[in-house]
Every structure is written in structure tokens, then in C-alpha cells.
Amino acid sequence: MKIDATGGSDVAPADVTPLVQLVAPDGSRVVGPDDAALRERVAHLTTDDLRAMYRDMVLTRRFDDEATSLQRQGELALYAQSRGQEAAQVGSARALAGQDYVFPSYREHGVLHVRGVDPVDRLRLYRGEDHGGWDPNEHNVHLYTLVIGSHALHATGYAMGIQRDGLVGTGDAARDAAVVTYFGDGATSQGDVNEALVFAAVNNAPVVFFCQNNQWAISEPTTKQSRVPIYRRGEGFGIPSVRVDGNDVLACYAVTAEALERAHSGGGPTFIEAYTYRMGAHTTSDDPSRYRDLAEEEQWRRRDPVERLEALLRAEGGWDEAWAAELEAEAEAYGERLRDGVRALGAPAAETIFDHVYATDHAQVAAERAWFREYESATAGEEVAR
């Protein structure tokens, strides 16, 4: 069913655009007259599948909590939480095939979790130990991109490459590939994101633009970026577009699965606006109390995506205390491994400053590396005048 963006009666935003929802905040299934096709897309999900999603979301939230406290302890330079956005991330990522490729922004911890990117590696960037942290081709997940919106073009180009590889519309589900790129509401203002929509539309490229509208771009509400619902942006480029309840993991799964099917089969791009909320600060450096009020935070807390999936499981008999306790224990162990792993990360060797600037020799780098090496060995152990 398409209902209004409030997702319930607990808030009354000005924006009453219909959004796709399959599970209500109380955990009940929403059954509307014209969403049979979407319901069909989640019909095959078993209790085990739902539990697996729940587990993804719980571990993602645990990851957030651990990373946040690691930052407080000085183990990370910075951290950007995904709290509140777990359903959007896990739901969409679970719809992907292994051969699909992801271009995330910098907050998609839930997506990376689903794709199997090592949790410790995911924090190397935030520790200031690596600008990336993992091998993108191992899990088909590109590195985090910090220049807002630039990666939307990379994603589109990558999708154009998939087309050229003949891996769209082969009819073989194990071969057809597509790209999903994640970005925020703020990013939609960047020229690059709009150019990506141009290139994707014109090339009919197999790419899904997954915009998590978490209501804020640091301190700016979404109204500073657009005066109409964000999903309408895609339509202006001739791209099928949809607003989905980003706190409803099943709805996110369903619309992403639909978009991927379109992409895989040669139907081209889709624009998804996942209407959700950044429950935490922008990053550990941010202080939301300067710009938003507690009442808003409280309203959204009542639509917590993890609680919604718990409610669904409970409502449908999928909840089991023993299983829940096991998951809690798993999360504990997961947290401990993460803490230990991060603390064990050293600093890279100083001379790696000069590594991988170029693939091949470059005289300037070579000369500076040589100078540095000599300087380092000459000053090693010396009393220095710092």
C-alpha cells in the first residue's frame, strides 16, 4: 500500500507524499490494493530470512556503537553512524546479486556488512590509517567516497561498462549484473549526481540510484536541498522513481529487487528515495543539539527500523528468546573482535606515503622518496628540535 510519509500518526510533516510501505511501525503487514507485485517480491522470504535481516541490522547497529566508543577513546579519528538507516541499507543490499557492484558513500555500514566487507577494514579510513581499507573487487564494493556525489558518476560509468560486457538482459540471472550507488539527500544538489542521472538515462545504464533521505545534511534539513520530494528528481530525467519507507526493511528490499530486475533485464536505471532518519549525529564531530529538536528525534525513535523488524517477527511468530539471546551473545563477541581488531591496527610505514601515487616510475616521486629515505636515516635517533 502507498501511504503517507509519516508512516503512522505520530508525526505530521508537511510532506504527505505517498511512500511504499509493506510493514507498519507496529510490525503488521500493510496490504494495499496496488502493491501486490511488491508483496510478491517478499513472499518467498522465510522466517530464517527475516531473522538473517534482523541479525544484519543488529550487528550493523553494534558496529555503530562500537565504532562510536572507539572514537571516543581516541582509537578513531572520526566516525559517521548509520543508526536509523539500517533497514534502508540492509534491505537494499540483501536484494543484490553477488555480481552486482556497489558504490557507497561513507555511511553505508549496513550495506558493507551484508556484502561481507571485513568490519575492521571498514574502520581503517576512519582511523586515519588508510584512505580506503578493503579490496573493492573482493566483494564488489567500491571504496567510500568523501567528495559528495562524485561516485554517482563512477557508478554510472561502471554500469556502462557492464553493458559493454554484454551482461545485461542475457536472460541468465546468474550473469546479469547491475550497480547500486548510495548517497544522501544533500548529495542530490551536487551537479555530479544530476549529471549521473543524465548519463544513466541517456545510456539506459543498469544502475540504481539509492538515495537515503535521512532528513539532514549535517545541519541542513532536506528543505534546503529541494522543495519537492526528492524522488521526483529522478522523474525529471525520465528515470522511474519511487519513495519507499526507509525504515521498512521489506519495502526497501522489494523496491530494490524491482529496480535491479529492471536494470538486469535491460530496463535501465531507477531512482529510489528511502525516506528515513539519521538517528545519531552527522559524525562524531557533530552536535545535532545545535540545529534540531529533541521532539523530532523522539518521533523518529518511535519508528526505529530495528524495532519494527522485531515487531514483525514477534507478530508472525518468528521471534524466539533463545535465538535472540544467541544473537545478543554473537553481537557481544562481534564487538569484542572489532575492538581488538581496530586496536591492533598499527600505522603504515612512513615511506608508504610514496607508494601507489603512480603505477609506473615517476621521477618526482622517485627523487622525493630517495630524499626522504636519506633524511629519515640521517635523523633517526637524533635529538630533534621539535
Binding site: 586515519g128 584512505h131 567528495v147 534546503k224 606515503i353 616521486v365 635523523t379
Partner: protein, 336 residues
């Protein structure tokens, strides 16, 4: 405007805030634009409180699009406004690069002086704050090569205050590079008084001798002035007397002040965080080698960033010019 002055101890960041406040007060066409500069006061709080005091029409939270910020600022300037744009971090100025390079810098020239675009672009820049990628860069040379732009960088709270006021008053576009690593350093600042320069060569055009000396000239700007001064201290302890020139302006470069110093000392070391290759130090080395051809006793030494992207935070102190590296370069110059 009162010409009364008061003196306070302020952080570097706060000195800019006060400079902006003074500009907003004295010129009702002055306005601020940028991401998160309103309620939040900017991620560095430089505009803290200004939206409250001057309203949302004059302190504007913009959409997240740097080209849009600078491009609309140009339009506002054409309508008679004096927009001061904040770029959130150095690495995020590049989406605006086209507007700055092809439009802002050339509008006056293109119109034969009929159009004026007095836009200031504030860019917190430089490293040393343990940040992630794109948050520690020094792209000043990428702007100073382009004619039509003024490029400056203050090194002290007083200069920060004076120069931001002069920049807002300047009829030319000004790229205002703020050494973010110095934001929390403090100094005495005399507030108030008339706007510095007001059209005549002043703080936006001239270098400042930050420390007098005789044996070697250290040339620095922005974040590295403090490094150079510390190096001068260390050198003094070793018996070497270093003069420190704080450029303040990168475009135009105050070559006479530098050359006058080098003609006396015979030696010159330039220090900046940006990579050496085609950096400001290249221009200074070229000019000093030319103008002080007969006085130079050693080649101009450059202490600068390396030809590599700014590295991860864990390695930034190996990358950045340090006191040790400056001292080392001076030793090299002296042993020639």
C-alpha cells in the same frame, strides 16, 4: 562606523568571526553563504552566532553544491552584493573550480571593467588536524596561477581579522585561505577602526617580516609561519639568525620584501604544506634566483609537501614540513 578600537585576546577562528561581523555591520551588502554556516555556525564555528544576529537573508545556508554557491555568489555580486562564501574544507572547493577559474576571475576583464564581482571565498585549508581524505589539502597554487584572483592566507589572529575585512571590502575576488590547524591558536587582536587597505596596497598585497634575522631568510605563509618561527628559535639556539617573512599574499607575491631580505642574508628557504612541484615555492625560488642572482650563496631550498596525495592522518606528520626539516634545509643552505 565608529573608528574606535579595542584589543582582545582571540583565537584565530574567532578573529575571523569578528572580522566577518565587522564587515556585515559596516556594509549592508555584505553577506555570507555556505553549507551549515547558519544555525550550526559552520563546522569550525567561524560563523557562530552570525545568522542569529544578521538573519537568514544575510547568512545563508545553501544547498550542498559548491559550484552553485560560487555561481550564485557571482550573480549576487553582479547585483551589488558582496558575498563571502565558505567552502567547508579545502578538498571540496574543486566542484566550484570552474566557476572560480572561468567566471569569477575573468568577469572584470571580460567586461573591460564594467562588471565587478567582489566575492570572497573562504577556504579552511592545510593539515595537521588528523582528518580523513580531502580535509587537509593546500590547493592555493591551483588558484594563484589564474590571473584575476587574489589569493591570500593570514598567519596570525590580527592578520586574520584585518585581512578578512580587507578582502570583503576589496573590489577584486579574493580566495581567502584559512590555516585551519591554527584556528585554535590565540593572539591579541585590535578590533575596530577603518577597513584596512581600502584600495591601496596593504595587508592583501604585502608580506610581513615576522622575525628579523641575518643568516638566512625563511619564507612562509599561513600554517607554516608558525613552523618557520619555531625553526628560527631552534636555529638561534645553534647560533644561526633566521629572518622569517610571512607572505600573507600569494597573489600578488611581495617579491621586493623577500628579495630585499635574501639580498642581505644570501640564503633562502621556502616552507609550505602544498606539494613542492609547481607550488608557490617554485615561483619564489625562480624569482629569488633571478632577482638575487649575485647575492645568493646557495640555491633556494624548498621544504614542502611531497608529490603524493595528502596521506592518511597517521602519516601526516611525516608528510608535513616540520621544524626539523626546515632546520635541515637551512643547514643545507649554509653548507653550500
Amino acid at each position: 562606523m565608529s573608528t574606535q578600537t579595542t584589543t582582545q585576546t582571540l583565537t584565530f577562528a574567532r578573529a575571523i568571526t569578528e572580522g566577518l561581523r565587522a564587515a556585515l555591520e559596516s556594509d549592508d551588502k555584505a553577506m555570507l553563504m555556505g553549507e551549515d554556516i547558519g544555525r550550526l555556525g559552520g563546522v569550525f564555528r567561524v560563523t557562530d552566532g552570525l545568522q542569529k544576529d544578521f538573519g537568514e537573508a544575510r547568512v545563508v545556508d545553501t544547498p550542498l553544491a559548491e559550484s552553485g554557491i560560487v555561481g550564485t555568489a557571482i550573480g549576487l555580486a553582479l547585483r551589488g552584493y558582496r558575498p563571502v562564501c565558505e567552502i567547508q574544507f579545502d578538498g571540496f572547493v574543486f566542484p566550484a573550480y570552474d566557476q572560480i577559474t572561468t567566471q569569477l576571475s575573468k568577469m572584470r576583464y571580460r567586461s573591460r571593467g564594467r562588471l565587478e564581482v567582489p566575492v570572497v571565498i573562504r577556504i579552511p585549508y592545510g593539515g595537521g588536524i588528523g582528518a580523513v581524505e580531502h580535509h587537509s589539502e593546500s590547493p592555493e597554487a591551483l588558484f594563484a596561477h589564474t590571473a584575476g584572483l587574489r589569493v591570500v592566507s593570514p598567519a596570525t589572529p590580527q592578520d586574520a581579522y584585518d585581512m578578512i575585512r580587507a578582502a570583503v571590502a576589496s573590489p577584486d575576488p579574493v580566495l581567502f585561505f584559512e590555516p585551519k590547524g591554527r584556528y585554535w591558536s590565540k593572539g591579541e587582536v585590535t578590533l575596530g577602526g577603518p577597513v584596512p587597505d581600502a584600495g591601496t596596497p596593504g595587508v592583501l598585497d604585502t608580506a610581513r617580516v615576522a622575525r628579523a634575522g641575518e643568516d638566512v631568510t625563511l619564507v612562509a605563509y599561513g600554517p607554516t609561519v608558525a613552523t618557520a618561527l619555531k625553526a628560527a628559535e631552534a636555529l638561534a639556539a645553534e647560533g644561526t639568525s633566521a629572518e622569517v617573512v610571512d607572505l600573507r599574499a600569494i597573489s600578488p607575491l611581495d617579491v621586493p620584501t623577500v628579495a630585499e631580505s635574501v639580498r642581505r642574508t644570501g640564503r633562502c628557504v621556502v616552507v609550505h604544506e602544498a606539494p613542492s612541484f609547481l607550488g608557490v615555492g617554485a615561483e619564489i625560488a625562480a624569482r629569488v634566483s633571478d632577482e638575487c642572482f649575485y647575492s645568493l650563496e646557495a640555491p633556494v631550498q624548498r621544504v614542502a609537501g611531497f608529490h603524493a596525495p595528502y596521506p592518511v592522518a597517521k602519516l601526516e606528520h611525516e608528510y608535513l614540513p616540520s621544524v626539523d626539516r626546515v632546520v635541515d634545509a637551512v643547514d643545507r643552505a649554509l653548507s653550500f
